[in-house]
Symmetry: C2
Subunit: 347 residues, 2 copies
DNA sequence: CTTGGCACTCGCTGACCGAGAGTGCCAGAC
DNA sequence: GTCTGGCACTCTCGGTCAGCGAGTGCCAAG
């Protein structure tokens, strides 16, 4: 009894089941795949596979269905990531290159992934934990208010309005604003968020009594923004695809939609990538720690500019999914997005 | 045969049906509501209501269910918008007041609406068609690049990076940037988008030959941003609530989710408010022009800072919904959001 | 105009049954 | 030792049928 053939049988079962979405029996199997043995032999192999927990029969006299463990083996040992056609590659890059800013890149990416894989797409906003401050701009506004614009190296922009409690429109005020602007940029520009935050706090103490309240207001708002922005965001698309795959979710579409609205847990999920961030990570069914998503699989990959993986993206679908092509799409999109971010990075 | 009583019966049917989600029969009706007449009388009234097309029997021997027209009459003539409890009002305002910026206001609003009504919430971003430019800031970046930050009176911020093709780091460059900054703010600050766009174009012609290319680059990017931002956006939450109401959607949850992903059509829907923008607008089932949403009702209302209604928000749910309380929630939220925007407006 | 009565309609439920698909196992072939 | 054909068995699925119950429409009387 060759182990090899048993795995061939498993692969055939997975492929057929993904294709037909019906339990596959021994007879149908030998017909569709030419594995040079008879149905009876296949049945023996199936019995063993079932013993190993890789497949499972929904009821005594039905065909077999892969278990989560079965899919796992399939993904790890039995499938190669299918390369995309050159047409697809071109379509992807063209679609993404039309983006005008970061929001647009993320928006286009998530839509693209959803329509490409016909599943739910999930894209995490580039995380700012490793981001650096590019520039901080101050814009006086009204009599005593100041708008603070924080520009991040990824191209993201955050703004806050603070009340300095001082008139800013006279000469004194203008001098103050300009001095604060210079000083905070001196300590914070080009510096990672975490470092910037501590340096800015120190700056307050070094400031003259007279200007300290104004400086304090600005720094505290900036501190907020730095922390606030570290709170990560995620964008979804293609929820309708869940309904299309209704057969795979016996009445459990509700919990899935609910889980998808819990952006925090989604982010945690996306954060737990596999060992190698350059590889596509697949989490199958019950491997998934989130309640409600245990009938789904998540195919994800990190992306980011330069060598850093600043965030992840992926798709979520029924465990019965076409892993090779889904993985190919996710990988291709992740790479293109990284490229795009690289290009914009330099500017 | 009093017309009054017939309407009472209609109201009772709507209320019961919304409550139980089962066709309501004459007997159950007289038991639950004390309408001082017998079941037989109610049956006669029901027959008439059916003739008028306000209710409908799913099959010969079942109870009655309101039609879209029936709900229409109910909403227009038989129900008063139920006032919210003071606790609810307080919860709403507290939840919304924690918002730090416009994104956050919109985000909180949509979540709040969804959880309040337990339905799908839809919030349109404040439209920028009537917005004005508050300030334009230029930030030199790298050798010849310039980041343009456009600040809108609603608090929204847009940024673009352009290549001016000229060195900006020397004294000449700084002078150029500062001159451009002053001049564009002179013509555009405080001015509505449409006007700003034309004035800015004129500005290019009035610029010296030497500085013209740089000015042109800035103005063209700004023009893009102004148009781009006019493209409106919409945010959703609570899709999971659709699944909860599964009984109301015989297998048609897919088309609804699909329709919800068509943000363009959603925006068009939200745009078509009723006559009085200060009133809650209700679009019931087939009154709704969008394919896929014809088993749903949309309860919406405009909101915005000052007297202008710059955008709308609302919730979408099954036609079998509790209109009075839903309308109350939508109205309350719309008002609070308007207030919040008003407050931030002044700063 | 209302009411009680009554015959009628129709969907829902559960039981039953036959067909079909698939399995497990065994005995024999290679 | 491994593979294969055969066979009895199991279980789901779809269809049919009867009984039940809710609800209706209509009618004749109050």
């Amino acid at each position: 009894m060759s182990e090899d053939r048993r795995l061939m049988v498993l692969r055939a079962i997975v492929q057929d089941y993904v294709h037909t979405s019906e339990p596959v029996g021994s007879k149908a199997l030998v017909e569709r795949h030419h594995l040079g043995v008879s149905a009876a032999t296949v049945r023996n192999d199936m019995a063993l596979l079932e013993e190993e927990g890789l497949i499972h029969a929904p009821h005594t006299s039905a065909g077999r269905v892969p278990t989560d463990a079965g899919y796992r083996v399939f993904v790890d040992r039995l499938s190669a990531v299918k390369p995309l056609s050159s047409g697809e590659r071109r379509a992807i890059s063209q679609f993404l290159e039309g983006a005008v800013d970061l929001d647009d890149v993320v928006d286009r990416t998530v839509r693209l992934l959803a329509s490409l894989t016909r599943q739910v797409a999930v894209v995490q906003y580039p995380s700012l934990t490793r981001s650096t401050v590019r520039h901080i701009e101050l814009v006086p506004m009204g009599s005593s208010h100041l708008m603070i614009v924080l520009i991040v190296n990824t191209g993201r922009v955050e703004q806050r309005v603070v009340d300095t409690g001082r008139a800013l429109s006279d000469a004194d005020g203008e001098a103050l604003v300009s001095s604060i602007r210079t000083r905070i940029n001196e300590v914070a520009a080009g510096v990672p968020f975490t470092v910037a935050a501590t340096r800015l706090r120190r700056l307050v103490d070094e400031t003259d009594e007279t200007d300290r309240t104004a400086m304090k207001a600005v720094v505290s708002a900036l501190g907020d923004a730095l922390v606030e922005e570290r709170e990560e965001r995620v964008v979804l698309a293609g929820q309708a695809n869940l309904a299309r795959a209704g057969a795979d979710f016996p009445r459990t579409i509700g919990p899935i939609l609910e889980a998808l609205e819990e952006h925090v847990t989604l982010l945690r999920l996306l954060g737990q990538l596999g060992d190698d961030p350059d590889l596509v990570s697949v989490r199958i069914g019950s491997e998934n720690p989130v309640t409600g998503l245990q009938t789904t699989s998540l195919v994800s990959m990190g992306y980011g500019s330069g060598s850093e993986r600043v965030a992840s993206l992926g798709v979520l679908g029924p465990t019965r999914m076409d892993y090779p092509t889904t993985m190919a799409s996710v990988r291709a999109v992740a790479r293109y997005v990284s490229e795009i971010l690289d290009d914009n990075q330099g500017t």
